[in-house]
């Protein structure tokens, strides 16, 4: 199939929509874990095709959004140190921390560079031997292996000025926290596609087994997601709960062994703070002791200051799936993409940004 056009054929979509309508019965709520899915669902207007009994809820799968303000403040404090270049993915630069953003720090003289991968940050380190380059390690299991690879490469080259602030997060532990909280009642989980391409579908099996919730790993095209919803709807109708893959072209049960191994060599699980969830055990990645010299946190003396969250911002609740952007009094009024209050309005995968850009309430 062609990458884009054939995945958006309306004929194929019609068949899936018919099947979903046929199998949908009692009201059911599915959560799309991943912000990429939320964006695709909103952008394609896919919810308009679903029967009223089916509700889709956005989950915490946006790495920029779940980054805690305390961690963001660390990045800003690091960027403000002399002779330090902070290299970051683009979205992160605009997210407001407790008092400022990387973008504002940059305007005030900090050296903040937008990069497209950790390897670009490595190049920066090579080109600026007199400076320290700190890569902002934001992301899930999808991104962490590439950052691990950059650290291995830096070690191999003997680069002395490359550091990583590891704010990486792991998805299965936070889903467990979400389900244990009992705040949301889910009948199905649309499991992240790219995360699963790395870790495989096996790590979701506990959800089907222990919580009785059907799980389907989905790709990101509207057709992928429709197929996934169809598979979930059928499981619900049949009273089953198992893990299926609707993204066979990218995901296997065992995942990508090479990527997992690289990640394991460099990082070890550690507690991590999530926006909306607080500290979740073993849900982050820190550098193993033999890579400690690349750890920005351990090698720089900086003061991130006290943590604060903007008043009225519901990003935490939105990430937990208990509130929708429309429930937030700031949404669209005080909080817009040009003047974002919380990260969910900034990120290309943020729920609020998706609802803002593609909100469909009064379109039809």
């Amino acid at each position: 199939m062609k990458l884009v056009s054939e995945f958006r054929q309306s004929g194929l979509a019609d068949g899936l929509v018919r099947s979903i309508r046929q199998h949908a019965g009692k009201p059911a709520r599915f959560m799309e874990f991943c912000g990429g899915h939320t964006m695709s669902i909103m952008k394609s207007g896919l919810r308009q095709l679903l029967p009223p009994a089916l509700t889709l809820t956005s989950g915490p799968g946006c790495p920029v959004c779940v980054t805690h303000n305390a961690d963001l403040d660390k990045a800003i404090a690091l960027a403000s140190l002399p002779d330090v270049i902070v290299a970051s993915f683009g979205d992160m630069v605009r997210v407001p921390g407790s008092r400022s953003s990387l973008q504002e720090a940059k305007a005030a003289g900090a050296d903040v560079r937008v990069v497209y991968s950790a390897l670009d940050a490595l190049s920066l380190a090579r080109e600026n031997p007199e400076k320290s380059v700190v890569f902002l390690g934001i992301g899930f299991e999808t991104t962490a292996p590439t950052v691990a690879a950059s650290i291995l490469q830096a070690k191999g080259e003997g680069l002395k000025n490359y550091y990583v602030l590891s704010l990486h997060k792991l998805c299965p532990p936070v889903i467990k926290t979400l389900l244990d909280s009992g705040e949301v009642n889910l009948q199905g989980l649309i499991c992240p596609g790219h995360v699963s391409a790395v870790i495989g579908s096996r790590p979701w099996e506990f959800i089907a087994r222990d919580y009785g919730i059907p799980c389907v790993v989905s790709g990101f095209e509207p057709l992928d997601i429709l197929q996934c919803i169809d598979m979930l709807t059928r499981q619900v109708a049949d009273g089953e709960a198992r893990v299926e893959i609707a993204y066979r072209r990218g995901v296997s049960r065992e995942g990508n062994r090479t990527a997992i191994d690289i990640m394991d060599r460099v990082f070890e699980p550690a507690p991590a703070r999530w926006r909306g969830f607080g500290e979740v055990a073993a849900s982050g990645l820190k550098l193993r002791p033999n890579f400690a010299r690349f750890d920005a946190e351990a090698n720089f003396d900086f003061d991130p200051g006290p943590t604060a969250t903007p008043k009225g911002c519901l990003c935490g609740e939105v990430l937990r799936g208990v509130k929708s952007p429309d429930d937030c009094t700031l949404f669209r009024l005080t909080c817009t993409p040009t003047n974002p209050v919380g990260p969910c309005m900034v990120s290309a995968e943020g729920t609020c940004a998706a609802y803002y850009h593609y909100g469909e309430d009064d379109v039809r």
């Binding site: 958006r8 095709l49 790219h194 850009h357």
Partner: protein, 344 residues
């Protein structure tokens, strides 16, 4: 300010700060290497200002070009400056006549690159049928400009019967797009450092005044013309909807997008509707004339892929909505900020 483009050839093959200071050598070079490329009777007088005698209503525009990189497949900053300025004039139905170009050059730019760009200016001006009648050059310290910036102005005249404006779109009008969207933006992105990816795409950078003339010959009922440059088709449609106090409905499967462009956008997390074009226009045309205009456009080299992509409506003024390929509907908003590639 002399109405000429000044450059200097010395023993150095790079632009030096001294090249900005004028002087005899500079004047020799203008006469020997620049005038032959760009000359016309007005410019050749080398007076402090160009003396022009246009007849009719004037259209006057200015623009600045800061594209990075300055050379890209399908064009360079010189061609872009000429086409961009010509297109701004053409979008009010004007016949472009005169351009001014002011070069702001970063110290150290290879002279050969400047000359290549001046040659592109010449070729593009010839293709568009316009004369460069005034110019200026400044050289600034290394690091205070990125290689080369060009500021332009353009003057054209508007035929009596033509009345085209972003305010003129009317409910019922058909929306015609002159070709594929996103080509220029993706080409430029593909050349950026840190993002290089291979593509055979070329920028669509082209002067559109010829196409507009053909369209106007086919129908006087063209109400609104716009070239969707920065911000892409989506932003331009929002501007029209706002200015004309109408809504616009477009159909995703009618919008021509090259497979390479949609694939690159998918990879980078961009939407082709928000990616820049430099040789495309959208027109709103009264419904009974739309077919005629479309057929005329398809005969022109810059309108071969033209298509009717939607229509102008009355309800919900200011809003642009799109019927997606899936049969659903969504709002098309203006571009917010710089489009950034996704990270996950």
């Amino acid at each position: 300010m002399p109405p000429i483009i000044i450059t200097v050839k010395t023993m150095s093959d790079k632009i030096l700060l001294a090249h900005g200071s004028g002087g005899r050598l500079a004047h020799d070079i203008i006469r020997n290497s620049l005038l032959p490329a760009l000359s016309n009777p007005v410019l050749a007088r080398l007076d402090d200002a160009a003396v022009l005698e246009p007849a009719g209503r004037l259209a006057f525009t200015t623009d600045s070009y800061v594209v990075q990189p300055i050379f890209f497949p399908g064009g360079d900053i010189g061609k872009l400056a000429v086409c961009g300025t010509v297109n701004d004039l053409a979008m009010v139905g004007a016949v472009p006549h005169y351009l001014s170009l002011a070069f702001i050059i970063e110290e150290g730019l290879p002279l050969s690159e400047l000359e290549k760009i001046v040659y592109s200016v010449k070729e593009a001006a010839k293709a568009a049928g316009v004369a460069v009648v005034a110019g200026d050059t400044k050289v600034v310290n290394r690091g205070t400009a990125d290689k080369l910036f060009i500021n332009t102005a353009g003057i054209g005249t508007i035929p009596d019967e033509v009345d085209i404006s972003g305010h003129n779109a009317r409910p019922g009008d058909m929306l015609i797009l002159s070709g594929t969207v996103g080509d220029h933006g993706i080409v430029v992105l593909s050349q950026r450092e840190g993002l290089n990816f291979a593509t055979e795409l070329k920028s669509d950078c082209a002067p559109l005044n010829g196409l507009v003339a053909e369209m106007l010959a086919a129908s006087q009922n063209i109400h609104c013309l716009r070239d969707p440059t920065r911000g892409g088709l989506a932003t331009t449609l929002n501007e029209i909807a706002e200015q004309s106090d109408v809504s616009i409905r477009i159909y995703e499967d009618k919008i021509p997008v090259r497979e390479e462009v949609s694939s690159a956008c998918e990879m980078l997390g961009l939407d082709p509707l928000y990616v820049a074009n430099e040789g495309k226009l959208i027109a709103t045309v009264s419904p009974d004339n739309a077919k005629k205009v479309l057929e005329q456009m398809k005969k022109h080299q810059y309108g071969r892929d033209a298509a009717i992509i939607g229509e102008v409506k009355e309800e919900n003024p200011g809003r642009v909505v799109m019927k997606t390929g899936l049969g659903t509907t969504r709002i098309i908003d203006m571009l917010v900020g710089e489009p950034l590639p996704r990270i996950c």
